[in-house]
């Protein structure tokens, strides 16, 4: 277990370092990096403008630029947002809880719907119900998340429901297949043949067998929910990290966007680590 966690922590650290380098490189080579709006300020003296130019020129080397970026990031300084004119750290700290709350509700709705529909379709074996649940999940999978979010704005329904439906659509098919496979295992068939109740079969035999894979899919769905939070928050007017990313993209606020992407990467990797650790714990317990 400890080995698994340390491997994930190491992977997280390496990913962040490489992701940071990639981000710093992209910022450095983005069009317009060498120019600064302040250089157009007529109140500045020629010496000040020259100093600004030299400051930019000093950031010309990507590795030096990245070292500076990392050095500041260690102290929690991720720079200043150009569009919102506030420290990036403040903005991100304000918005992360909103997104986490939205995702929490959305994942709860999505996972509950997916588990309910997958379990009932597996246990009931009614063709019409099976087709209905599959078609429903398939339909939501074929609608862009932005349009789904617009639909919820139109219906004046809370945004987390849109996120829940997106998660449901992405998770349902995998969970349905996993439960199907578990349900067909010999010891479960025997339990059913001996007359064990449906709920007992599900809770005591099917779910524990499928738990590690179910958790792995749940871990991946966190990344899906994070991605979907951009259109949901942007269009439903929810002031979270997704809306901030969208505003940053429209304003080409690169320092803000890069920090958001790194934060999102951390959340994604932590959720994957958590789901894998939980899955491992289930496997160990069963062994």
């Amino acid at each position: 277990m400890l080995h698994l966690i340390s491997r994930h922590v190491l992977r997280l650290a390496v990913t962040l370092l490489l992701g940071g380098l990639l981000a710093a490189t992209l910022i450095r080579f983005a069009p317009g990096f060498d120019s600064d709006e302040q250089q157009l300020d007529s109140r500045l003296s020629s010496e000040s403008i020259e100093a600004l130019r030299q400051q930019r020129a000093a950031q010309g080397n990507v590795l030096e630029f990245y070292a500076g970026f990392l050095g500041s990031a260690v102290y929690g300084d991720f720079g200043q947002s150009q569009t919102l004119n506030r420290p990036v750290r403040e903005l991100v700290a304000e918005r992360v809880p909103v997104t986490l709350k939205l995702m929490g509700y959305g994942l709860l709705v999505g996972w509950s719907l997916a588990l309910l529909f997958a379990a009932t379709a597996t246990m009931a074996r009614i063709v019409a119900w099976d087709l209905t649940t599959t078609a429903l999940a398939g339909l939501f999978l074929c609608v862009p998340s932005a349009v789904l979010a617009l639909g919820f704005v139109f219906l004046r329904a809370p945004g987390f429901l849109a996120l829940g439906l997106i998660v449901f659509a992405n998770v349902f098919r995998y969970w349905r297949n996993l439960l199907d496979k578990s349900y067909a295992m010999p010891h479960i068939v025997t339990a059913r043949a001996k007359g064990l109740g449906t709920m007992k079969v599900l809770l005591w035999h099917v779910l524990p067998v499928a738990a590690p894979q179910l958790l792995a899919v749940a871990g991946v769905s966190v990344s899906v929910a994070l991605g979907a939070s951009i259109p949901v928050e942007a269009l439903c007017g929810i002031p979270g990290i997704g809306q901030l990313a969208w505003q940053a993209a429209l304003g080409r606020d690169l320092s803000l966007l890069v920090t958001i992407t790194l934060v999102v990467t951390v959340i994604t990797m932590l959720s994957n680590t958590f789901s894998e650790v939980m899955g491992h714990a289930f496997r160990v317990q069963r062994a």
Partner: protein
């Protein structure tokens, strides 16, 4: 059949469309209701909506497969080489792939899209949007291809070929890659609906194809004001077409999976 109908209509947009996508009918009111002249009415700028839907469908239906082809080729290159060479090369390639996969897709797209100027010409925006999709969407496919190449590398016929003195390059080109064709084809088909939906999401958020060129994403932007026009069901046509197309691709995939 529906997919073929949509494809034929969109590919022949210049024949079937009553007007160019950018032509403004200034005599008519903007947001006109459907009529004999304008089957789906006109948009805010008085342009024929039916023509724009046809041209927009063409843009999405032609460029999503092109982006899918690009990402599949990249995945084939990275995945096949990593899986075939194995050892540190495979570890390095898969670490890079993991890095790509740990960044949520839409965030990565937004980040890279924001690096590029927003005020570019319509044709440049189409190219940039679909090129980004193709260049950034290879990672998941590369993992699948790498796993396939690894299995082939360890198979008996490859061992026999190596023992017979077949060179590495020849082995890769003549034995490994042809055997990866089914996996590559599956990845290609999987990528198309993903890219169509991603372009639509970018378009609705205002980061996709720019005016006056239509695409499904830019056409769906109209739905932002749908609350004001909720009885005008013809505005939903692009969404219906998109859902039909993506569903058709999903059904093709499901059928292929079942056949396999």
């Amino acid at each position: 059949m529906l997919l073929v109908a949509v494809a034929v209509l969109s590919l022949g947009a210049s024949v079937f469309a009553p007007a160019n996508y950018a032509t403004q009918f200034r005599d008519d009111l903007p947001n006109a209701a459907p009529s004999h002249q304008h089957w789906l009415g006109t948009d805010d700028l008085g342009r024929d909506r039916f023509s724009r839907v046809l041209y927009g469908t063409r843009v999405s239906l032609l460029l999503a497969p092109t982006a899918a082809l690009l990402s599949t080729l990249l995945a084939a290159f990275v995945g096949a080489l990593a899986g075939y060479l194995g050892g540190p090369w495979e570890k390095l390639a898969m670490a890079g792939t993991d890095l790509f996969l740990s960044l949520p897709w839409l965030f990565l797209l937004l980040m890279v899209r924001a690096m590029l100027p927003l005020n570019i010409s319509a044709f440049a925006s189409v190219t940039v949007t679909f090129l980004l999709l193709g260049l950034l969407g290879w990672a998941a496919s590369a993992r699948v291809v790498c796993a396939g190449a690894r299995t082939i590398r360890n198979s008996d016929f490859v061992l026999l070929a190596r023992a017979s003195g077949v060179s590495r390059a020849r082995l890769l080109m003549l034995h490994v890659l042809p055997n990866l064709k089914p996996a590559l084809l599956a990845q290609f088909w999987i990528s198309i609906p993903v890219f169509i939906l991603s372009e639509a999401n970018l378009g609705v958020l205002g980061l996709g194809v720019t005016e006056p060129l239509p695409s499904w994403g830019s056409l769906l932007r109209e739905l932002e004001s749908y609350a004001n026009f909720s009885n005008e069901y013809w505005r939903l046509v692009p969404l219906i077409l998109l859902v039909i197309t993506v569903t058709s691709f999903q059904l093709i995939l499901t059928r292929d999976e079942a056949a396999a």
